[in-house]
């Protein structure tokens, strides 16, 4: 059974890192006070950050949160998309 209705949160951290002078994962990790493994997990979409970390990441890149993270809502059961 596929999970077509699942909510997802994608991000542009990797792209933004390269757009900011090819910042390394370690450099970004130090900037937002997390470990490098957390940056790896975020980039691969395996970890959804807290709101606080999301804002710290956006601030580190000098952009808005919605420029870093994109929320894709699932279609609720029994409702058609409008």
């Amino acid at each position: 059974m596929s999970n077509e209705n699942a909510e997802t949160l994608t991000n542009r951290i990797r792209a933004l890192r390269f757009a900011n002078g090819e910042m390394t994962q370690q450099a970004l990790a130090e900037k937002v006070s997390v470990t490098r493994q957390t940056i790896i997990a975020l980039e691969s979409g395996k970890y959804v950050p807290s709101l606080l970390l999301a804002f710290r990441l956006a601030t580190a890149f000098g952009v808005k949160v919605e420029d870093v993270f994109q929320y894709h809502s699932g279609t609720p059961r029994g409702r058609s998309p409008t």
């Binding site: 990790a29 130090e30 006070s33 997390v34 470990t35 493994q37 957390t38 790896i40 970890y47 606080l52």
Partner: protein, 138 residues
Amino acid sequence: MCSNQKFAWFNLAVIAFTLSVFFGLVPLLGWQRAQGALGIAGLMGFGPLWFWKKRGQVAMDERDQKIHFHSWAMAAGVMLWLVYVFVAVFLVPAVYGQDGAVPVSVVQVSVYWSWLLANTVMSIAILVQYARASSDVQ
């Protein structure tokens, strides 16, 4: 390898060493006296030293805390079902009878072994959760 993983590997190493000493002493001292070896597991008390952070270093972030918490929850769940439900509700009445008396030494042993079990489950759960998210691409 992050602090959480080092902590988990350290715990597993201590548990493995404790068990090997325990099973090594059983033929020499007998089952009950060999349990003194379980005291070696107290070395796990040094585990939190892995979270000692240097200036400017992040030892544990929000993801690490979540993983640590989930691992403890799993360990507590296993302990609850296996030790308290299975042992206390089914095994002890089967061995000592519904109106029997449980020796104090059995209670002590249960506490020791359940503590070892909980730490083993927690450590493995930590390592598994990190292994799932380790596509190490720079």
